[in-house]
Assembly symmetry: C2
Homo-oligomer: 343 residues x 2
DNA sequence: GATGCAATTGAGAGCGCTCTCACGAGTGTG
DNA sequence: CACACTCGTGAGAGCGCTCTCAATTGCATC
């Protein structure tokens, strides 16, 4: 098992190293008998080509990186990220790629990580979670010419390839749903303002209101940070404004919001309706199941990997963009299933 | 920027490739002036050694793998895993290692992943999350001679190196705390029974009861699966037995349990006390802050990486074990801070 | 001034693959 | 039967590093 190389396989099969290489990379130019003989040896010996040698010779590592800048601290508070990571891992498994994970806790980490990521001969490409407006890692990595796909629209998307879900439209659907049900005082809990996700979902919220001639009221907006605790806090701010419905920009913030409302004895959806965003499992597990905007999280991850492969194989120019659709999932937290006598 | 190699740096610095290599790997035998000159060139050109070439020549990849078998589906329902992953990532950053992530969704994934992990020249070692009793991946990987550290005591730990927290003792502390406060009918919500975590924590619970001469009552045990929903369900089973306190084997199950109890109007800790396990952030964010057994999650991850490095550098024999201590964190969910007139 | 020794540098043989090129055998064509 | 052409295989030159060994130098020693 120790140090078993191509050469050894070749000897056992009575052919030249080159031929074994051809079999492994299923090149067409090998006669059926020889191919069979070589495959038999490979199988019986459990031979696996040396990854480093292969990378060096072929200039391909078949490994991609997933980079989470320090700004993505919600990796640990929002189940969205583990799910996304899972989707990406699936995409990698399906395409015989390996996935390398880079988590930066602080600026120092980012500095330390950067040269490792950009090192030639290491990664074929990277997926970078978009972050704040001036994202150090995105800036550096995209400049380093390594094929990169940004997960989520970056603030400056010029010339960059990215994949995102249609946040604007998703928020429109959510707000529209509440409007259709006759709610009048629709508040919203946003993520942190320095995220395009927040910006886009807020824009959708505004657009939906405008579409029915409703005035946008800044007082009906509370800023959170995509954590459960921030949803809880946001409700404290919002309650004095007497909303009858809330658009939460993430399910996990909706969970926090519900907790806060239940504490003061408000019933959902009777007193206040609430709609989330993401459709993570917890949405289904609440006592009052959460109506939400479903993101195709797993598909999102898989598509991201496929887009990156496209860039790796066919060049990064021109920049490509993929926007995935969302879906309104109606459960119980907005009262759509009851007959509403409102309006 | 394209194809800039050691040789190019050498030419610019007017020395031989070997010398540049020495500077990069800070070998002592380089004169100060030359070292300075070479470093200047490296800096000004932004040179980074080719990872594949280096791995091939040195037989070290400076990359380790984190393997999550399909049985670890709670990666997505329990925040414990993202935190652990973070700890591991920190450990890697501190030691200039890269981290490769392998998530298996099903058996097919595991088969597909295995040869990639075991490929020579790819990983220096692997961290494997322990799983079910007959874990396919653990079995295969440890047999393949790649240095491996199991995260969490495996069922069959013979000859394997692993790291775990002291689950038995942690559960003793938890149960003891409730006993000390005078609770009489202490129930417990466990994880899935085919996990050593569950087994160990249940054992601690039993031991603590026995230590004070209390009989163990199987009816006071409800099996969950470390998910919030299972904690919720478990309470439904447990309530008819009228417990006055509950040891939940994870915070997230405690959250579910609390939700269930609040729904039927039980107050915490006045009607039922509850203690969790893990000390994830949510424990602090609940209205009634959760008393819990704190795991040093980040340190756990860092230590795991260090143990693996030890195995890589000094050989895997004899097998090494690290058991980390837990800590009782007293908050409000057990009533310890009020003066109890019970007993 | 011959000798020994440490410090510094250069030379070059790998590491285990891929991939182009050359070669020989087999096939078809006029 | 000479020719071109395809197909399968072998040869061997890299890929960009590391690391051992040899060569060179400077300096102390006797």
């Amino acid at each position: 098992m120790e140090k078993f190389t191509l050469e050894d396989v070749a000897k056992l099969a009575g052919v030249h190293r080159s031929t074994v290489s051809r079999v492994i990379n299923d090149s067409p130019n090998v006669s059926p008998e020889v191919r069979k003989r070589v495959q038999k040896v490979i199988h019986s010996t459990g031979y696996q080509p040396n990854a480093a040698a292969r990378s060096l010779a072929s200039q391909r590592s078949y490994m991609i990186g997933l980079v989470l800048p320090r700004s993505v601290s919600s990796f640990f508070t929002d189940p969205f990220f583990p799910h996304l990571t899972q989707g990406i891992a699936f995409g990698c498994n399906n395409n015989n790629l390996s996935l390398s994970l880079f988590l930066a806790g602080n600026r120092e980490d980012e500095e330390k990580i950067l040269p490792r990521i950009a090192r030639r001969g290491f990664l074929d490409g990277v997926l970078i979670q978009s972050g704040r407006p001036d994202e150090f890692l995105i800036d550096r990595l995209t400049k380093s010419n390594i094929p990169s796909v940004i997960i989520g629209r970056p603030f400056l998307s010029d010339g960059l390839s990215f994949i995102d879900i249609d946040n604007v439209n998703g928020a429109i659907k959510a707000t529209q749903h509440l409007l259709d049900l006759g709610y009048k005082r629709i508040a919203t809990i946003t993520g942190n303002h320095d995220s395009t996700v927040t910006v886009d979902r807020l824009e959708g919220y505004k657009k939906a209101l405008k579409a029915v001639g409703r005035e946008f009221d800044p007082d009906m907006v509370a800023e959170g940070d995509f954590s459960e605790a921030s949803g809880y806090q946001a409700v404290k701010t919002l309650l004095p404004r007497k909303p009858d419905a809330i658009v939460a920009q993430s399910d996990i913030m909706a969970v926090g919001a519900i907790r806060a409302m239940q504490e003061v004895g408000l019933r959902i959806p009777d007193d206040v309706a609430i709609i989330g965003f993401d459709d993570i499992p917890v949405a289904r597990q609440l006592k009052v199941q959460l109506t939400t905007i479903k993101q195709p999280i797993t598909r999102f991850g898989i598509k991201a990997v496929e887009l990156l492969i496209d860039l790796i194989e066919n060049g990064t120019k021109p920049a490509r963009r993929i926007i995935l659709d969302t879906e309104l999932v109606i459960r119980d937290s907005c009262g759509a299933k009851k007959i509403r006598e409102h309006v």
